[in-house]
Subunit: 230 residues, 2 copies
């Protein structure tokens, strides 16, 4: 069955009272998703909301003319597919398992229930969405004001922060990520990303590889990203 400890430990449910947690556990269903599987499809009726327990998801959107775009990466502990909280009835994107992953799902109706009776959960969720809004604005500002190299640097730094594993002085991105993926996160082409990363390799900033990215000099990347005023 589902591990109560596990659910209890999720930051998003912090402060929920015991009875609410019980109800939550009673209705949760655990699912496994093999690498490459989708949890649900963009445009589908939003019937459930989810928490990622293990693994890593890429949330992708496809535009009217077929171009692809990565909205975000879902990391363990993250809530996703909460379309209702956005006042939508359909999922806006498609989460794809970048590695074998495990999720918990609840019927969307439960969300309203919990929200109504647990101000704390409502506030938690609001702040979580708020932080995501903040992050989205950061990306928008980048896309507006920076050129490609800076945007790619930012994307890589973000990946390092949320999905980076330290090994020695290096940080490895903990899931398979292609040049194409990075291009779809930064609004450029895989060719340009490849060129940029190759160039960074010669400068010793990163080490690349097939679906692999290792950051060797985070500070150097930050300098390129132009965060700190020079």
């Amino acid at each position: 069955m589902i591990d109560r400890e596990l659910v209890d430990a999720l930051p998003i449910f912090h402060g929920l009272d015991a009875s609410a947690l019980d109800k939550l556990l009673a209705h949760a269903s655990q699912r496994s998703h093999a690498k490459g599987d989708t949890v649900f499809q963009q445009g589908e009726e939003a019937t459930h909301f989810y928490v990622l327990l293990r693994g890593r998801l890429k949330v992708q959107q496809v535009t009217a003319d077929g171009q692809q775009f990565i909205v975000r990466v879902v990391n363990p502990g993250d809530l996703f597919g909460f379309a209702m909280a956005l006042g939508r009835t359909q999922y806006p994107g498609t989460p794809i398992a970048a590695v074998d992953s495990v999720t918990l799902a609840w019927p969307m109706g439960m969300m309203n229930d919990i929200l109504q009776h647990n101000p704390t959960f409502a506030i938690n969720t609001m702040q979580m969405i708020g932080q995501r809004l903040d992050a989205a604005h950061d990306r928008l500002r980048e896309m507006s004001t920076q050129e490609v190299e800076g945007r790619v640097a930012h994307a890589v730094i973000r990946l390092a922060q949320e999905a980076g594993v330290k090994s020695g002085s290096e940080i490895r991105i903990d899931f398979p990520i292609s040049r194409q993926d990075i291009a779809e996160m930064t609004g450029t082409t895989l060719h340009t990303v490849s060129r940029i990363i190759s160039h960074w390799e010669t400068k010793g900033l990163v080490k690349g590889g097939r679906q692999l990215l290792v950051i060797a000099d985070l500070a150097g990347l930050r300098r390129l990203a132009g965060d700190e005023a020079s």
Copy 2:
């Protein structure tokens, strides 16, 4: 004093009980802002949250290297400056009055109060932030996948929707907006915006002018924006 009807009518406060509304009214302070004034400054300690009663604000951010960027336009009835809901203690941007404007302000602490005791307000706020997140993702997708003309078209369509006034078959943007402004909303330069709009004028899509924009053919713009699959 402050008009209770007015506050009561704000969608964001829908469903608030009488006592909460009383408290709200007791702590509200009304302020006027002449065209060009700022309500607060980016980076300032976030002491209050606001509702725009009348007028129109442009929320601007300045990057480390001095470039400017317009995050959004605040329209009457909109909540803004709710940094706390995003888990921030400082304002992320600077709201500038595009026309003479009137705001209501509350001490930030009140927000927590109301949130704690009024699940409905928490849910309203959450959904409002959620919609803004959705909108931000739309813009991100645009910035990633579309070229400048499409992005400018989108920006103009959005302006028409949220700040457009119909006069006959035309829609006029209801506040002074420069080419520079549009450039800062779409991540391009005023020169490019000027060229694009001039070109649109010759095609009869819009009518321009100094700090003025009138949409003559919204459907035509939508086609340019590439929303509908051709």
